[in-house]
Symmetry: C2
């Protein structure tokens, strides 16, 4: 009986130790927040706000930045269930509507990622002074891309991502001011002047953004 | 009397609003932690651990990295009160001892920095999911350098720094796993085989590191 108890305790300890090691995770399904992005050699930088709804497979983001020495403003609405992307121009009150090549990818650490390490941003010495985060790396074979991504240990919220393809070089994206939930559910409706837009061509997310 | 009360309330509100705005701050005087650094175009990267004692004006750090396609390991001890720097080689059990050109600079947001903004890394939606940080920018005229630095709102702990000079280009340094205090006070003593080292030349911190 004692041996049995010991075995149970050992198993509990073993499973506890196993549970201590971070696992790839999925971010909360409803999120709003801000981000900044920077491309190789400072040739590209941007700042923006995103709205993310994994339940409805919808993403809207506003981005302001500079690429190839020109500033740009971009307002994108992606409705993955319908398979369409709207590029919205408020200036000309017009929309480009395109078919989306890819299906919806939730904001997550892919399950085949390699765990690089756990760190505290700031300090664990005082309350409110630190944030426990996990860093992962991996490759997306079909896109010939490498990534390194950092998420919070509690809540799996995005902190930063490094993303590399031959085409884009190394891109670094920092996320901040994330809130769980959607502030304005109407942000996922195309504006009225988009109603008449017809699908013209296909695109994918990265093609539009970079 | 009512007008007087109103004036007092207004003053309290005004001073409270003033207090809300972050002010340049100084990091805790005793700190240990880790850092990673990266230079322009990925030509330089390093990872290291630091020990920082502002009371005794002493810094020790261990750094491992790659520059100009060569890996390096560096163990530096800076004793600013004595005005000396030791570059310690454990492999050859020898030390280079140099006079330090500069005086001690505490880890701080310089008082003439410009406040860029306050953000939450992660999220303020859940406990333990976010970290409140402030970002500042400025110039160090004598070094012809620009910087952008992010510290925690609570505790003024370093999070990241961007530093630019003509010589180095943009360097980004990320700090993590900071703890308040010194784990091993002996880390600020030169190893025994440094006792016989004589001062040879002068240097400054940046010259040695980059």
């Amino acid at each position: 009986m004692q041996a049995f108890s010991l075995a149970i305790i050992s198993l509990c300890l073993a499973s506890d130790a196993w549970a201590q090691k971070p696992h790839p995770c999925t971010s909360p399904p409803l999120l709003v927040g801000s981000f900044s992005a920077a491309g190789p050699g400072g040739k590209f930088w941007s700042y923006g706000k995103y709205n993310y709804d994994a339940l409805g497979q919808r993403v809207r983001f506003f981005e302001y930045g500079k690429t190839k020495n020109e500033t740009f403003f971009m307002d994108l609405l992606m409705l993955f269930q319908e398979g369409v992307l709207y590029e919205i121009s408020w200036e000309t009150q017009s929309c480009e509507k395109m078919a989306l090549e890819e299906s919806f990818h939730p904001m997550e650490v892919p399950h085949n990622s390699t765990f690089l390490g756990q760190t505290v941003i700031g300090s664990s010495s005082g309350h409110g002074q630190g944030l426990l985060v996990n860093t992962w790396a991996g490759e997306v074979e079909e896109a010939h891309a490498k990534y390194m991504t950092t998420v919070t240990e509690h809540g799996c919220l995005p902190v930063s991502s490094l993303y590399h393809t031959e085409e884009t070089g190394w891109m670094v994206i920092s996320y901040f001011d994330n809130l769980i939930g959607i502030e304005d559910p109407q942000v996922f409706f195309p504006p009225p002047f988009c109603q008449t837009a017809k699908i013209e061509g296909t695109t994918n997310f990265l093609k539009v953004v970079f």
